[in-house]
Subunit: 348 residues, 3 copies
């Protein structure tokens, strides 16, 4: 648990910050957050799952966040929340010791004269900002990040270190991009020339940009390609994890979340409030309805019209058993035909 000297709050201060009802003594100092079974007398904890209710009587925590129904069972100071897990999530903001960045333009930054910056902008060391870039109020651009010409960031965006934003990329407000991520790289569009000599492939120059809405967070080392003719679009509230690939011309609907290593081929539309597990692959030129949930490593090969949960793949097996099943998989159609033949034989 990160313990930052001095960064503590009294329980009463936390109750006030989160606007939660306080039961018991609010004077105890809370230094950090921990699960019930690991918490010490410096920690606040939370009960988000009834099956751990027993731990309320044994925890060493100084205080706990619980639903109203558990407030009486609780012998330690408590904050009362309808959704303790959500209250915990909001509480983490108080204990985040993310290093601040001075509200300055670092002298080593290279910023085009034509760039326009709102008030309160902070630019780190070795940042490079291209021509006609627009940075909204209070944006933070961390060290060694590059923003190419004609791109724009809304208010309160934060680009972590070593991010690359290509030209004609537009971010909304409150967007965070983690390190190593590349936004606006060329989509993978090439046409065979059919020539016997000379170049085999003709590149389709990617003329679109990338349009990202408000309240979007993108993880580390992710790639979002620019569109071929129109923009690639990430709508408001979308969450994208690390090492995700989003190809040219995709549209991702509001509040959808993509876990790490998801790969989307081009021109695919994903609806709102979907969740994609890690490593899911998604074919190009398909459409996925709202409220679709895909389990990890599944292969999405066609349009999905119905909300619901979908999967593919085979479960993990001891390698020796797996090899047998894999061989039989290749014989499945013949097994089916043999089965049909037997059924016909019996029917006679």
């Amino acid at each position: 648990m990160a313990f930052i000297p001095g960064q503590s709050f009294t329980l009463a201060e936390i109750a006030s910050a989160l606007d939660l009802e306080l039961r018991g003594d609010g004077g105890c100092n809370i230094f950090s957050i921990a699960p019930l079974h690991l918490a010490t007398e410096k920690d606040i904890s939370f009960l988000s799952n009834a099956k751990y209710a027993e731990q309320l009587t044994t925890t060493a925590a100084a205080a706990v966040i619980v639903t109203p129904e558990y407030s009486d069972a609780c012998k330690i100071p408590a904050l009362i929340a309808d959704n303790p897990y959500l209250a915990f999530a909001r509480l983490t903001a108080l204990y985040d010791d993310l290093p601040g960045q001075k509200q300055e333009i670092h002298p080593s930054a290279v910023i085009a004269d034509s760039a326009i910056m709102g008030g309160g902008v902070s630019i780190g060391a070795n940042v490079v900002i291209g021509e006609d870039v627009v940075l909204g109020v209070n944006c933070v651009i961390e060290a060694n990040t590059v923003v190419a010409a004609r791109s724009s960031l809304g208010d309160n965006c934060r680009l972590r270190a070593n991010v690359t934003i290509y030209h004609n990329v537009r971010l909304g407000k409150n967007v965070t991009i983690h390190s190593g991520t590349v936004i606006g790289s060329d989509g993978f569009g090439n046409v065979p020339t059919g020539e016997k000599t000379g170049r085999f492939w003709q590149k389709i120059h990617q003329l679109g940009g990338v349009l990202i809405g408000d309240d979007v967070e993108v993880g580390a080392n992710t790639c979002i390609d620019r569109g071929a003719l129109d923009d690639t679009i990430i709508e408001n509230g979308v969450l994208i994890d690390n090492l995700v690939h989003i190809a040219h011309g995709c549209i991702i609907g509001e509040n959808t979340a993509l876990a790490a290593c998801v790969a989307m081929a081009g021109s695919t539309y994903i609806g709102k409030r979907c969740t994609f597990g890690g490593g899911v692959g998604i074919a190009g030129h398909i459409s996925i309805a709202d409220d679709v949930h895909i389990t990890g490593m599944a292969m999405v090969t066609g349009t999905i019209k119905e909300a619901g949960q979908y999967s593919s793949g085979t479960g993990l097996l001891p390698a020796r058993q797996w090899r047998k099943s894999a061989v039989r998989f290749s014989q499945l159609d013949s097994m089916h035909q043999r089965l049909r033949k037997i059924e016909k034989h019996i029917e006679k």
Copy 2:
């Protein structure tokens, strides 16, 4: 559609640039490119698929690229091409508004005295160029990119921002590397020491380099490892998308294309003109023939001697149905044996 004021061409200028026959009035100004059903009077469009021929009569486009057979059906000005999709691809180059980079060595760049640079080279801010590096004529190295000692670029290469080139990497002519890509990182080679105490693994230092041919384009956040003893080799005309992993000692044949998130293990040889869909995994120490096409997310576990299309995996299913199939997959060999037993019983 990115609209860049002033960047327009008349249809006659386009016909001339692409060396295509013009039918109708060449004087209209074309500002951008759009599909038939979305085009406005500022756009040129193209018909590359007969099933959209109907749209020739309804499109609002100012002009269109068609094959000779459709030139009469076309009531708007037209360019005649044997392959309109290829003509469209060539046309995109005219409308690419990729920001130029001044033909200068930015004063913040750190360049070893022993580096050799051809005429017309452009070096962006905070670029670092190591000892004995050679940059060909007209190379463009964008901001915050690093090229380590003894590496070389042929003429007309472009390294986008935040690229990393390790030592002893050689690029041919007309090579483009997108942001975040790393070329020449160590291959993953380690030998168990067998020692009970001390280090468990002994690293195999990776003594080879990377050799990349002409006309190669590599996407963003891709990794191409250096060879253990010999070079990893990417032949002329190869196209590599984002987040691809190419392990030490691989050889990729001319004009092969690897879509995003392909992962190749070490010492594997891929032939010419192959295409690999997104997320394909390829075992090490195998060989893949020319003209092999692998569908997305397939697992290539052995040598492929015949040209053709290959696949693996299971299709996407509703999760409840998938769980049943996955259980039965683990029982496939026993199902097969039960089937065999029934067949024998019936034969009797």
Copy 3:
């Protein structure tokens, strides 16, 4: 084969450096290392597999590393080792021509006054070091790398170019991190707010750090996320390849090796001495025993209690045949029921 003029050793010098018995003339100059069938008179080779023993009589190598049982059969000068492959691995260190970095703080580096640096530290161009960072003795930080506040590196660490280390990340001794890798990015933790208007997701700020042991090597463009409350932990001797994703709160046991493109979801524990093939996906909140080996692209969906080798997926098939098997996969449960029905019919 990289040939660096002057970088050669006599066989006697090599015998001494590796502490191996020399048979025959130790005076020959060895310039590089090659497999038996490719070696020239400038090379040393090695026999690590009995099936290539025949090549001992035909190789053009100047010298060879062999086990004692082959020393008599060998007509050229030889080094005798119990494990020639391990001896080869150790030998590669002598021929590694990794460019040195001057033992200096490059004037373009931006280093916080509060950072503490041990003796012999080398800092490359455009490096950015945050407040209260600690760098151990002889650390090498290559160009354009960023180390954020309050992180620490043990002695003899090397961060290659364009690495990003977030705040509160602690590395042990002898750790190498390859280019593009990001350590300490936020874990992917978000809670649905349940609100009809306003933000859909509430971020869980990630308060933990990353703790990495001694003798760890991490490949290029990999991501290791910081923990939500506690640290993500990589134990001593762990090897991690390129483009790997390690989510928040994972613990990876000593000497385990993860090949490229492995993706681990959060709060998963992996034991010691495990190996994971390329592209393996691992579910969150599970536990994997010591000495587990997973083949490439397998999907690990649950806890593994027994050491051994595990696999999943389907083998590669010609696409036409695969489509049939994939259809039958979706019918597997019904096939099983039909089989059961026939068995019952026959039993009667």
